[in-house]
């Protein structure tokens, strides 16, 4: 097989995965041209990632919920409510930040488990159960902010979550204008990526499995290095990695690891693919339902805190329509409502695509009404692409 044939085959086989990256790339190019490069500027990209954070973590949780054939409409107002709880804990109860953050996440898990009880134990359709949650948390948010209205959060540690950046080395003479720690993180990421890819390939060769040819493999590695390098370089040009980006990356890595490398992931996709078969294979469907909704609740809490931190306050309308943005991101990222299909990384890209659209069109000064229409069209196009490529049965 020649190299070109291999490349062609590889592209064909992974068209669904690559499709999203290509779409994102096209979007970036279009906006960069339309805004005379303003879109791709360090400052804007950094800003864009911060805007995306609270939707991205929700989209990641939502991916798993949709994979096991459920939906969670309550996450938006749950996030809003838990953001307000965090604000109250900080301002009125005077809890320290390092207590508040884990505490609110535990609350989130609790809320998710309550949803899971209604779904797994009582067999209520998740659409209905979480619609009830949507109403309840909306009410709870209003009550929490009833007396005070918007709760201002004067805590700089907490507010750094949504607005702060990782610290830099105090070396003024070395690489001026670039964020050194961010570059370092990027280099470490590249090294880790290369080492792990090479060792996994070596192991495959040890087992005498087929692997991609050396040329192909090198190209893939170089491509990944360039990608990481480019992102790092762009970010380093402004304030470096934001804490939001660090959190989103962390959540993505953990969930990617859990879903692809562990038995838990297998069980989740098995339940999504065929719940009856999963149960008869010794997998407890209700246990998986508890875990997935619990994780969704926890990520809702995280999302709520990221948002409150970003605004440096808890507002009465926080969380409005977050759930639909998260669901849209997950669908753009390739999850299937029939269950059993969808990747965490896909949903992250989906979230980036959706936020890039908003951000880019804002920069171009496009009217908000048009923005909604464009985003709706992109959502439909993404899902049509997904369904069409899936039908070909690869």
């Amino acid at each position: 097989m020649t190299f070109l044939q291999e490349l062609q085959q590889n592209l064909k086989k992974n068209i669904r995965d690559y499709g999203m990256y290509i779409a994102l790339f096209v979007i970036i190019i279009i906006f960069t041209i339309a805004t005379d490069g303003m879109f791709i500027s360090s400052r804007n990209i950094s800003n864009l990632l911060n805007q995306m954070g609270y939707i991205a973590v929700l989209a990641i949780g939502m991916t798993l919920v949709i994979v096991i054939r459920h939906i969670d409409l309550s996450v938006g107002f749950l996030a809003g409510f838990l953001g307000a709880v965090a604000a109250i804990a900080l301002t009125q109860w005077n809890f320290p930040v390092w207590v508040v953050i884990p505490m609110v996440m535990v609350f989130g898990i609790g809320a998710g488990l309550i949803t899971a009880v209604t779904v797994a134990k009582f067999g209520i359709p998740s659409f209905v159960a979480t619609l009830a949650g949507w109403l309840i948390y909306r009410g709870a948010l209003l009550q929490a902010t009833l007396k005070t209205g918007t709760i201002i959060i004067p805590n700089p540690g907490f507010n750094a979550l949504g607005n702060g950046y990782i610290p830099d080395l105090p070396l003024t003479g070395f690489l001026p204008g670039l964020h050194k720690v961010t570059l370092l993180v990027g280099v470490i990421a590249m090294v880790l990526m290369v080492v792990s890819e090479i060792s996994s390939r070596k192991k495959k060769i040890e087992y005498e499995f087929d692997v991609t040819s050396k040329n192909m493999f090198t190209i893939q590695l170089v491509f990944m290095i360039i990608l990481i390098g480019a992102v790092t370089y762009v970010l380093a040009g402004y304030n470096g990695l934001s804490w939001t980006a660090v959190i989103v990356l962390g959540v993505t890595l953990i969930y990617q690891f859990l879903t692809t490398q562990t038995f838990l992931g297998r069980h989740i996709y098995a339940v999504g693919g065929n719940p009856e078969a999963a149960e008869l294979s010794g997998i407890s469907v209700s246990k998986i339902t508890y875990i997935v909704f619990g994780s969704m609740g926890m990520l809702s809490a995280l999302s709520g805190m990221l948002y409150a931190s970003r605004l440096q306050s808890a507002t009465t309308t926080a969380g409005t329509l977050f759930e639909l943005d998260a669901i849209a991101a997950a669908y753009v990222g390739g999850v299937s409502s029939a269950g059993g299909v969808g990747k965490v990384t896909g949903s992250l890209i989906g979230a980036i695509v959706m936020v890039s659209l908003t951000n880019g069109m804002n920069l171009m000064g496009i009217d908000i009404s048009t923005q909604y229409i464009v985003r709706g069209a992109v959502l439909v196009a993404a899902v049509v692409f997904d369904v069409a490529t899936r039908k070909r049965g690869i």
Binding site: E206, Y207, R266, G273
Partner: protein, 507 residues
């Protein structure tokens, strides 16, 4: 001779990478029952899809003539209008709707915009009478047995003035008496001039009902035989279907003296709260080490319910009684516990609740026992998984382009082998096989039986649940016959014959 009602000439249909039909010619005379047989993948279903317009005119080469006229169907609607009705294995009825609504679904009798219900019911009653179904036309489909549903499908076809009925494995889910009913109906319709094409795996049926038989093999029409002239028998059919003769449908096994009792169920009762009925009554069975134990009975006798109530009771029956495994009393509140104790259960409906169709072969094989490939208790060792899956692919001869192929795209026989691999991967002591050969062809059946023999040779014990008497008699050591939730007989297979079993089954 008059013009045949249907003549398909030189049909060739290609899919990307495969030639599903290769120059097939197929002729059906007026008012005959014509059986179409062949292994899975031989092209029977594709041929019928070409006929019914699922594959529209132009997407295949060749010609279809109905009453001597060239037909060019663009879709199934066209073929229906021409008088062709196809009844698929998976019935196309709406369970929540009533009989008369289903019969006239899509061509309602109208009064302007509204449906003329009285006329609909009147015509439905007449049609039901014709197909010999004596039920209230306002019965919901979901409350009917599968045999009755089939008759409703035929009534639906007749309501559209179908002249050519195509039935795709109509008896695969029917018990013997329902099958007999169906055949009587087809014979009756034949007298009225309705022609039937019957796709089937069951050779006994072919012998019983066919006027003529066409055998397909590897996308080609091999031969058409006339049953009325005595041209058809088992051997000839099998030889033509597989292209070689199979000496014996059931592979030989050296029968050993039965071991000690390994698993026993005593005084087992089960009550199904959904239908408010006791479905198993005082069932007692013993399974001996290294034997194949058969459980048979008619449809609805409680065979599958029995297996499911033992294996973690996922259907939520209220059960009573005791299980003894290796001398210890046990009870399984979930399939997980049953698996841990050394049981495995290959379900009757491999697509519905057996396999995860959208996942690949290797994932399906390892899913019930991921522990075997876990590092540090939670990390999946993908390389070990690939290695194990390949071993099973080779040892069970699972024919798949790759272990990364989705199970969805495998043939029935190979899907069943994946099911077996999945449960062998658990290394159970006791394997419960529920209708292990349903919907798979003669060649694959033989392979499944061979695997079963290997299992018992390795010391496993098998409970084989089946409604097909020949395979129960051909494969097992001992047989329990159930009827309406009660064990009516226990037989040593060597001393049993079909008549005896049927007598117990209808007790």
């Amino acid at each position: 001779m008059s013009v045949p009602i249907l003549e398909m000439k030189n049909i060739t249909k290609e899919f990307p990478g495969v030639k599903a039909l290769d120059d097939v010619s197929f002729k059906v005379e007026r008012a005959e029952i014509h059986c179409l047989v062949g292994e899975n993948g031989a092209g029977k279903s594709t041929l019928m899809k070409v006929l019914s317009g699922v594959h529209p005119y132009g997407s295949y080469d060749g010609e279809i003539h109905l009453d001597g006229e060239l037909q060019t169907y663009r879709n199934t609607y066209d073929s229906e209008k021409a008088g062709i009705a196809v009844i698929y294995q998976e019935l196309a009825l709406v369970p929540e709707m009533m009989i008369y609504e289903n019969v006239f679904l899509g061509h309602e009798i109208r009064n302007g915009l509204s449906v003329n219900i009285n006329e609909t019911i009147k015509q439905t009653v007449a049609l039901l009478k014709k197909v010999g179904l004596n039920v209230n036309p306002a019965t919901k489909i979901k409350h009917m047995g599968i045999g009755q549903q089939q008759l409703v499908e035929i009534a639906k076809a007749l309501s559209r003035d179908a002249r050519l009925l195509v039935l795709d494995e109509p008896t695969s889910a029917l018990n013997e008496s329902d099958s007999e009913n169906l055949f009587d109906l087809l014979r009756g319709l034949k007298k009225e001039g309705v022609t039937s094409i019957l796709i089937t795996h069951k050779l006994q049926e072919v012998l019983a009902i066919a006027d003529r038989v066409t055998v397909l093999r590897d996308g080609q029409s091999v031969v058409t035989l006339d049953n009325n002239k005595g041209e058809v028998n088992d051997d000839i059919l099998i030889k033509n279907m597989v292209g070689r003769s199979i000496e014996n449908i059931y592979p030989d096994r050296e029968k050993k003296a039965p071991g000690e009792v390994i698993f026993e169920v005593r005084h087992w009762h089960a009550y199904d709260p959904r239908i408010e009925r006791e479905i198993l009554k005082d069932v007692n069975i013993k399974l001996k080490k290294g034997e194949i134990l058969g459980i048979t009975g008619l449809m609805g006798a409680g065979r599958t319910e029995f297996a499911r109530s033992l294996f973690g009771n996922t259907d939520g029956y209220q059960t009573e009684g005791e299980m003894v495994l290796n001398g210890e009393p046990v009870s399984f509140s979930s399939p997980q516990k049953a698996i841990k104790s050394g049981l495995a259960y290959v379900t009757e409906d491999r697509k519905g609740d057996g396999l995860i169709l959208i996942q690949d072969v290797k994932t399906n094989i390892t899913i019930a026992n991921l522990k075997r490939i876990l590092n540090r208790g939670f990390l999946i060792d993908e390389n070990a998984e690939i290695k194990d899956a390949r071993e099973f692919r080779d040892s069970l001869d699972i024919r798949t382009p790759s272990i990364n192929q989705k199970v969805l795209y495998l043939s029935g026989g190979n899907q069943q082998k994946v099911s077996l691999a999945k449960w062998l991967y658990v290394q159970p002591e006791i394997m419960i096989l529920d209708e292990p050969t349903r919907g798979i062809d003669v060649g694959a059946k033989f392979e499944i039986f061979t695997i079963m023999n290997q299992m018992v040779e390795q010391g496993m014990s098998i409970i084989m649940i089946s409604s097909e008497l020949p395979e129960i008699l051909g494969m097992t050591d001992r047989i329990y016959v159930v009827s309406e939730g009660v064990v009516t007989g226990e037989l040593i297979t060597e001393e049993a014959d079909q008549e005896t079993v049927m007598r117990y089954a209808t007790m």
